[in-house]
Symmetry: C2
Subunit: 195 residues, 2 copies
Amino acid sequence: MARAQTRDRVLRATVRTLASQGYARTTARAIARTGGFAPGVIYYHFTDLDDLFAATARFTSQARLERYRAETDGVTGAVELVRRLRRLYAEDGAEGHIAAVQELVAAATSSTRLAEQIRAETARWQDFAETVLRGLLANTPLAALVPARELAVAAVAAYLGMEMLSHIDADHTTPAALFDAAERAAALADSLHLR
Amino acid sequence: MARAQTRDRVLRATVRTLASQGYARTTARAIARTGGFAPGVIYYHFTDLDDLFAATARFTSQARLERYRAETDGVTGAVELVRRLRRLYAEDGAEGHIAAVQELVAAATSSTRLAEQIRAETARWQDFAETVLRGLLANTPLAALVPARELAVAAVAAYLGMEMLSHIDADHTTPAALFDAAERAAALADSLHLR
């Protein structure tokens, strides 16, 4: 297997282990067990677990951001946007992306390297959310009223917090209810021809 | 010292220990060291650490909710509300309340008892946020358009997520920038006589 492919395999196994077992139990041995390779493979590609975790933050953030960008590109109405975001959120959950990220954010308090990476990834998501919001508000009377940057920052924070809370709310009704409400509000916005 | 006073002292020491050292390092010994009492005092009031953590979630949530209710009571404009929330948020930070809660939410994945308590406290804060929002929107054209419950749920999630991110953003500029933007938006809302 090519070097880059093995590296990706280690990164994907790290995401899955973080999501299913939490940061504290994500040892080299646990990652290797998830991925079905020898623990030594990890140290062939990464200097240590801190290096691996920073790379995992980059890897999963980049992969998901590409999906989010592709899916929200050319969206023409608020309802359509909310529907696409709902699908993307379901993907996040299925792949363990956001659960892994939440574990890494919590763990970042004890690692400068990881904290730096998480800050960089957070900024990328805030930029993305701001772009989507500005696109949606463009040519509407709300464009001048809504502080898009700060709303984008709040949206990224809400996304993380929602994931934290969904861990202890087994039926996951809260995100579903939020998407329902967002879709109703979006339908109203679309019908008012705000855009 | 009366029984209830000692109990409160243990609870306050637990909040401070969670906030400063994180959940994993919050042992009976660490709490006792923070509070300046013998570890045995903890077990006089609580059956085990799980019991203590659930009680701490209740204790700190109730104390802060009382302050939030008192401070937002009778608020007459959006700007005034944002200013009061900014002061309350600063108090949360100084007292370690929200940092402790974030540690407990993260820890709740491994304790049914704690998860149940966190769910109950989260519901209380969502109710509070909804009441404040409905009060602010009452008699404005926005009352029929804004999904107050879902916005309240999102606000509580954003608050938790903001705290997670602020841990790795040493200068704490993000919450300050959000309050600034909220105050500008509130000033606009107030000047438009939306209420």
